[in-house]
């Protein structure tokens, strides 16, 4: 089973959430708004490219976009293998972190 890094998980979840609108700009904004993570476009595309090589995502060029001088965007979608890998990562985290949020909060508060 594929193992995913933290940033990779964030990207895949972003792609999942965005659905058909999962392109570079949107993914970046999703990361910034939801995960508080500021990542460069280069980092996003290079990571997605690696994920695509591992067949976890697939990409295609969309329709020409007026706002980009007529040039299309590159869209991404989650592949079944990527979904399985992401699910596994999520479950692993859940299994080890489940029920620990309260304890974590106290520790974080310094108690």
């Amino acid at each position: 089973m594929e193992t995913l890094g933290n940033f990779e998980q964030l990207l895949l979840f972003s792609v999942l959430r965005l659905g058909e609108e999962a392109h570079g700009v949107a993914i970046r904004e999703m990361l910034e708004e939801r995960a508080g993570r500021v990542a460069s476009s280069g980092a996003i595309y290079t990571t997605l490219s690696r994920l695509e090589e591992r067949a976890l995502v697939a990409s295609w060029m969309g329709e020409p976009t007026p706002g980009r001088a007529g040039r299309p965007r590159r869209h991404y979608r989650l592949e079944p293998a990527g979904a399985r890998a992401l699910m596994e990562s999520y479950r692993t985290l859940e299994a080890i972190a489940g029920g620990q949020i309260g304890k974590l909060s106290e520790l974080a508060a310094g108690k």
Partner: protein, 893 residues
């Protein structure tokens, strides 16, 4: 949505820079995203400056991320067994290029390897325990910019003062007559050495003991330690050798021990006697030169030892400024000091650079052939590329192919070099005992590196050139095979250079080697096979002899007396018909001098106005011994020996070339000096003799002068003995007579007179061989380069040739179009080579007697090279002429 102009980020210069940084398949997408993000930020009300800052940060961050990934850095291609199989198949499929390339690299790689190998051999290591801790101390004479050996005083002072060394020792070479049973004498090489040396080297004797300090005490019994080979071959490995008396020169010594097999320290020494020289016997800075070496104490580094040595010698220099102020003592590798060769990498760097350059040029030419072959496979490469092979993979494949070729060539070259080394066996016999010119792991490692170097230049570089940019798209547009490739300026220059080298080297080879195989003659009327020739010298042994040697007159008198006694005894010997002495004998390479003749103008060379002649000094019996009558005037007599301005004799070639046929008797000559302050006296010509081997290759060019030689005035001196029987059979008797006169007299290189130029002939043959080898490579490569260029041109211009033929062009015109470039390169190379040969050949041969008739040879070689070049071009030219217009136009080339 149109982004307002004012909203466009103004950092377009940064964008262009970052665009370059993020270059790759998604560079455009990234840049578009950045601009879209900027636009959104501005639309959301973010201040422009802040939006620009975010833009630039994102830009640079993206550039950084991309640069760390594999987007624009090609993945290193992985090699598979299939790639290797393909490489082998390709090499076998193109036997011509493979053989030519293999031949060139099989010579080029060993040539490139030679300096590394030689340096490694010279640098040892010595076969002793912790040999890297053994170093030598030597002076640098800053005035003369040269090394200088220490004297005995230095050894004694250093041994007493230096704490960085466990101990110090001194050694000097000596050559002596070993007198065996029946007064048979033979020359053996050994050393005078201090007893401390054996402790420093950590060696044990094989039999008996080594030298002790007590043996160095004046008045002690003279002793000797024998080398294992000497003990085995001359004393039959006698187990009772210890305690027996053996005569070395005039001294009877007691054998105290035998060293183990292989021990021949410092160079190739066969016996060791105590160092007789002591500082107290000499003035400061006088006395025999010795080599001083020692073992560093544990933990002491060379630089610390150097510092101490410098401090000690600074003190002695302060005490003796007149003799020592310009001397700097240095700690050096012992192998450098023993061999006299500064075999360090810095000194050898120019030699490395030259041989690597030669190898690079050879590889460049092989690369030309590879380039042509790659170009002819462009369709195959295009298909492989379409199937997914990256450019780096294709280049790697070509590199592997050439690496296999270079590897095979290196192995063949090393094998041939090992065989060729046998030619040098006579010279290796006197090489240092630790010298090992055999193939070692280090040699193989360097050869492997050179193979990689060769494969990079000859394989990878042409492949990179052949696959650069979008050559494959160009191919379709151009409609011709390899049409996008060009043989550029570098290739043109390489071919011209190769042709020039071929012509120049072959000219040198023919000039030198031709002399080697011509008849060497010492003179038509001399029965050279009836004379024994040898050299006699008297080594100085011990302080008494050295003191005598220091006074030239005393030594000359002593040696002269010995010479006369030898002559008297030989003349009384039954079977000996004649004895004579000379500084140089007929057939040897006579020294060249410049003279001026009173009343006869000479040529000017090197700023010297005069005649170039050869010279020797001979005793009064010389011409009688050779049965050479005077052709005019008189021979030497006793009055010529003592007169300050004695007469001289000249030979027939002198009369022809210098005097233009004028009568020489009574004319005066004198040696030309470059400085006006040293005018030499005028010498009167009193006699004329025939040409007697002053130039054994071309007697007519051996214009020469004979001076009278009083006994003892030349040391060493050559002796000529005419015997009734085979001269070689007389050698042992000659040694006996010499030993009886003076046991220390040494006889060197005895041989028949008609064999004295064997060294000269060997030189000529070796020189010819070396030239020929380089010329052969150059010829093969240049012919192959021309062929490849022509073949490539024909394939490139097939359609054009078809059109021209269809339009009625004559065969001569077609040939001209196709061959013009190659012909120009050939002619340029031949002209350059002939000019190079005309300058270099006489310059290198200089005064050598081997420089015979070289202009004609250079011209002949140039013509030969033109023919070879035309032959190389013939095949592709004929192919071009056979092109049918219809086929050419249909196939599109």
């Amino acid at each position: 949505m149109r982004i307002p102009r004012r909203s466009r980020p103004r950092g377009t210069l940064a964008s262009r820079f970052a665009h370059w940084l993020v270059r790759g398949p998604d560079a455009r997408v990234i840049m578009d995203d950045l601009e879209e993000l900027f636009a959104r930020d501005v639309e959301r009300g973010m201040p422009q400056w802040r939006a620009r800052v975010r833009y630039l940060r994102n830009l640079l961050g993206s550039a950084y991320s991309v640069s760390r990934t594999r987007w624009h850095r090609p993945r290193a291609p992985r090699l598979s067994v299939l790639d290797v199989k393909l490489a082998v198949r390709t090499l076998l499929k193109h036997p011509g290029v493979t053989l030519v390339g293999c031949f060139a690299l099989a010579i080029g790689i060993p040539v490139g390897l030679a300096p590394f190998h030689l340096l490694s051999a010279i640098n040892g290591p010595l076969p002793f325990d912790e040999a890297d801790r053994i170093v030598a101390i030597e002076y640098l004479d800053v005035r003369a910019s040269d090394s200088r050996s220490p004297a005995v005083h230095d050894y004694e002072v250093w041994r007493e003062s230096l704490t960085a060394f466990e101990d110090l020792a001194a050694v000097r070479t000596t050559v002596q007559n070993l007198v065996l049973a029946g007064d048979r004498a033979e020359v053996v090489r050994g050393s005078e050495i201090t007893a401390s040396a054996f402790g420093i080297l950590r060696v044990r004797p094989y039999v008996g003991r080594m030298l002790l300090e007590a043996d160095e005490t004046p008045g002690s019994v003279p002793v000797v330690v024998l080398g294992h080979d000497l003990w085995r071959t001359r004393f039959g490995a006698d187990p009772e050798i210890v305690g027996t008396a053996v005569r070395f020169g005039a001294t009877e010594r007691t054998v105290v021990g035998v060293m183990p097999p292989g021990f021949m320290f410092p160079i190739r020494d066969n016996f060791w006697v105590p160092l007789a020289a002591r500082a107290m016997d000499y003035e400061w800075r006088s006395g025999p030169a010795v080599k001083v070496f020692g073992r560093l104490r544990d933990g002491v580094r060379t630089d610390a030892a150097q510092a101490e040595v410098a401090a000690v010698t600074a003190r002695t220099a302060a005490d003796h400024p007149e003799t020592d102020a310009h001397l700097r003592a240095e700690v050096r590798p012992i192998t450098h000091v023993l061999t006299g060769l500064r075999a360090d990498y810095r000194t050898a760097a120019p030699m490395y650079a030259m041989t690597l350059l030669l190898l690079a040029v050879t590889c460049g030419n092989v690369g030309t052939l590879v380039l042509a072959r790659v170009a002819s496979r462009s369709e195959e490469i295009a298909v492989r590329s379409a199937l997914g092979a990256s450019r780096s993979h294709i280049v790697m494949q070509q590199f592997v192919e050439t690496l296999l070729l270079a590897g095979a060539a290196a192995a063949i070259g090393l094998g041939l070099a090992q065989v060729a080394l046998r030619w040098f066996d006579p010279f290796l016999a006197s090489a240092p005992f630790w010298f090992d010119l055999g193939v070692r792991p280090y040699t193989i490692a360097v050869a492997a590196c050179l193979a990689v170097f060769s494969a990079t230049i000859a394989g990878a570089v042409p492949a990179l050139k052949a696959t650069r940019r979008n050559v494959y798209g160009d191919l379709r547009r151009a409609g011709g095979s390899g049409a996008a490739l060009r043989f550029g300026g570098v290739t043109t220059l390489l071919i011209i250079a190769e042709v020039a080298v071929a012509v120049a080297c072959l000219s040198g080879a023919v000039t030198v080697a031709g002399s080697a195989f011509s008849e060497f003659s010492v003179g038509d009327d001399i029965a050279a096979d009836e004379y024994l020739a040898a050299r006699i010298r008297l080594p100085a042994v011990g302080p008494t002899d050295e003191a005598a040697a220091a006074t030239a007159d005393a030594f000359s008198e002593r040696f002269g007396a010995l010479q006369e006694e030898v002559s008297r005894r030989l003349s009384a010997e039954p079977g000996v018909r004649a004895v004579a002495f000379a500084t140089v004998l007929p057939g040897m390479d006579h020294p060249v001098r410049w003279i001026e003749v009173e009343g006869v103008h000479g040529a000017t060379s090197g700023g010297v106005d005069g005649h170039r002649i050869r010279t020797t000094r001979v005793d009064v019996t010389f011409f009688d011994a050779l049965e050479q009558p005077m052709l005019a005037g008189r021979g030497f007599d006793a009055s010529d020996l003592s007169a300050e301005t004695g007469g001289i004799l000249v030979n027939r070639a002198f009369v022809e070339r210098v005097l233009g046929g004028l009568n020489p008797i009574g004319r005066r000559v004198r040696y030309v000096q470059r400085s006006d302050t040293l005018a030499s006296p005028w010498l009167e010509i009193v006699g004329l003799v025939d040409d007697l081997g002053m130039n054994p290759v071309d007697p007519a060019r051996g214009a020469g002068i004979y001076h009278p030689l009083p006994p003892g005035e030349a040391h060493p001196v050559h002796i000529l003995v005419r015997t009734g029987g085979p001269p070689i059979d007389f050698i042992p008797r000659l040694r006996e007579i010499l030993t009886a006169v003076e046991p220390a007299l040494l006889l060197d290189n005895p041989s028949r007179l008609d064999d004295v130029f064997s060294e000269l002939r060997w030189e000529a043959r070796f020189g010819g061989f070396a030239f020929t080898l380089v010329a052969a490579i150059a010829i093969v490569l240049s012919a192959a380069g021309l062929y490849a260029l022509m073949a490539f041109t024909v394939s490139q211009r097939t359609r054009e040739i078809g059109v021209r033929t269809a339009l009625g062009a004559r065969p001569v015109q077609i040939a001209g179009v196709v061959a013009r470039r190659a012909a120009l390169q050939l002619v340029a190379g031949v002209v350059a080579g002939a000019a190079l040969g005309a300058v270099l050949v006489p310059e290198m041969l200089n005064d050598s007697i081997l420089a015979t008739n070289w202009p004609a040879k250079v011209a002949a070689i140039a013509t030969l090279m033109v023919l070879i070049g035309l032959l190389a071009c013939a095949g592709p030219t004929l192919r071009a002429l056979a092109i049918q217009p219809g086929e050419a136009l249909r196939d599109g080339g």
